[in-house]
Amino acid sequence: METSWFAKRPVSDIRPGDHGWLAHTGLEERDRVIGIFVGEGLETGEKVVYVSDRPAGRLPGLGGRPPDELDELARSGRLRVIPRRAACLDRSGGFEPAKMLDTLAREVGEAFGQGLRAVRLTTDHSRLLNEPGRPGLARMLGCEHRLGEAVSPSTMVKAICQVDRQACRPDELTALRDTHEVLVEVNPEFDDGVLKIVRTFDPVGLRVEGELDAARHAVFSDRLAQVSAGRGGVHLDFSRLGFIDLGCLNLLAHHAIALPRGQALVLDNLPPDVETVIELVGWHRLPGLARGRDRVPAEEGAAR
């Protein structure tokens, strides 16, 4: 069954009160979400709280900045990189949900006192879920529920909990996801109100929403070339594609025949209206294009 109670939101649209979830497939996806989340927070005069054991200079959204700038941000209280031990672990290194909530309350209180209008909190659960002596799932879920209860009514806090999908089992991932109301994803590559193109990471490709026509061939072709550069197995998720013109079938075939031998451009989740046209002309007239999976029950990322 499609899980429809989530809001799926591009990272730039995260609002105060959002307790967001990002299960990423790797550093590229993480950096393209968290990097924007952190960067936009700092640029718009909000406070950024990053719970991580890594030094600030190696975190997404902070990596490119000179050490002086990072020091200044820290001094002014606009940026807080808090090691996990200080943020949410007890003396013996065990996970302590109550401490996490205290940390959040303290940082928000300070920001309020400084006159900062919002606090962006992000924390990476991957290590917590992966390391020896990991907390039980129930403990994690309890923490997330309480965090959600603290964030949701807030008019100041925007939170994103991140986890590497490889860090835990799929059922645990689903259970953790379900404690969040908002699924965070990358900002669209393009959105003009008629066509929206969103980069996908698992599988690698693009989600194409709305209407794809001649006026938008150039931008689509450009994004398709970008995502295909140096890699095979690119998928296009057409689940929310309402219209595709015949010129675009030609464009897709042109793109597909230029792929290395044996590789196909895979079309996933074809809506009936689009499939009708393709079946009418015949798949064999679209060399290099392959029919991918049909609509599958919601996994991470299939929710809307």
Partner: protein, 305 residues
């Protein structure tokens, strides 16, 4: 290998069987892929008559096979391609009853196009014409679209045969009327066809086209409008109006285009080929007519509810 495209006239099931049986048996003996697309009651009579000898023949009821000339050409092409390199031996009896004069014209053109589409396929086709049931002008047209005629067991060159380009040009000379004065009009002034699609979808829904027909018409109109924007000369626009059960959608511009009478009828190899778009438009709508002259280029699409 050259196509053999022959017709014959018959009266009654006995005469039908007497002519088609040697043809089908010759195909079976030569190891060809034998296909029989035949109307009832001839279909049942033929199956009974051949009995187990006909076991390897692919039978199709003509009433299901001959619904849309451009799609039927595509379907025959698929059959020929699926059996390659074997030759195909096809008994092919179109349906000649129940069409409007305009539709009949397209089926005549279809018979003529067979000569082009399967030119080098090596296929052998025999087209039966029922002298008692087919209208007289259908028999006249059959003499212009089949290079070979079977009479009294002998195949002869047919002197009345007209080459398909000339035949197609004749089909396109049919008199056509301009859009009625009260036709709805949409000026194509913007390279973004989003609003044009919404306009066509709205007219299609108001006319009562079902969802698939409406979507097909939108896709077809979008393609023709995109072509007009790419190749045509302004001013350009789209008219729609109802004509009985049909919704007509016409797109015109003031450019001069001289399409071949075969344009959009020959199935392309792939979406990469020139002509893929117009061919697909012909597949999507019930009928597409092109009128190109000094006063501009007009593409008229018909969609029946």
């Amino acid at each position: 290998m050259k196509l053999e495209h022959r017709a014959f006239e018959y009266a009654g099931t006995g005469a039908f069987l007497a002519s088609v049986e040697p043809f089908l048996r010759s195909g079976l003996e030569a190891g060809e892929a034998v296909v029989a697309v035949v109307r009832e009651p001839n279909l049942g009579a033929l199956r009974d008559h051949l009995g187990s000898d006909g076991a390897s023949i692919e039978f199709w009821p003509a009433e299901e096979f001959y619904l849309h000339p451009v799609r039927t050409l595509k379907d025959y092409q698929r059959i020929v391609a699926s059996h390659a390199p074997r030759r195909v031996c096809a008994l092919a009896e179109p349906v000649w009853q129940g069409w409007t004069p305009r539709q009949l014209l397209e089926w005549n053109r279809y018979e003529s196009l067979i000569n082009v589409v399967f030119e080098g396929s090596g296929a052998r086709a025999l087209c039966p014409y029922d002298r008692r049931a087919a209208p007289a002008h259908v028999l006249d047209q059959a003499r212009r679209t089949h290079p070979l005629f079977l009479r009294d067991g002998d195949t002869r060159w047919n002197a009345d045969f007209v080459d398909p380009v000339t035949f197609g040009t004749g089909c396109d000379r049919q008199r056509r009327f301009p859009p009625p004065r009260d036709a709805d009009y949409f000026a194509i002034e913007d390279a973004d066809l989003h609003r044009l699609r919404a306009f066509v979808a709205g007219r299609a829904a108001a006319h009562g086209l079902d969802r698939r027909a409406a979507q097909n018409l939108v896709t077809a109109a979008n393609e023709v409008a995109a072509n007009a924007l790419r190749h045509g000369t302004p001013p350009m626009g789209l008219w729609t109006w109802p004509d009985g059960p049909d919704l007509i959608c016409e797109i015109g511009d003031h450019g001069l285009w001289r399409p071949s009478p075969l344009t959009g009828f020959i199935p392309p190899e792939s979406a990469l080929d020139r002509g893929f778009g117009l061919w697909t438009v012909r597949l999507l709508v019930d009928l597409m007519e092109v009128r190109a002259g000094w006063n501009g280029t007009f593409v008229r699409m018909h969609m029946r509810k």
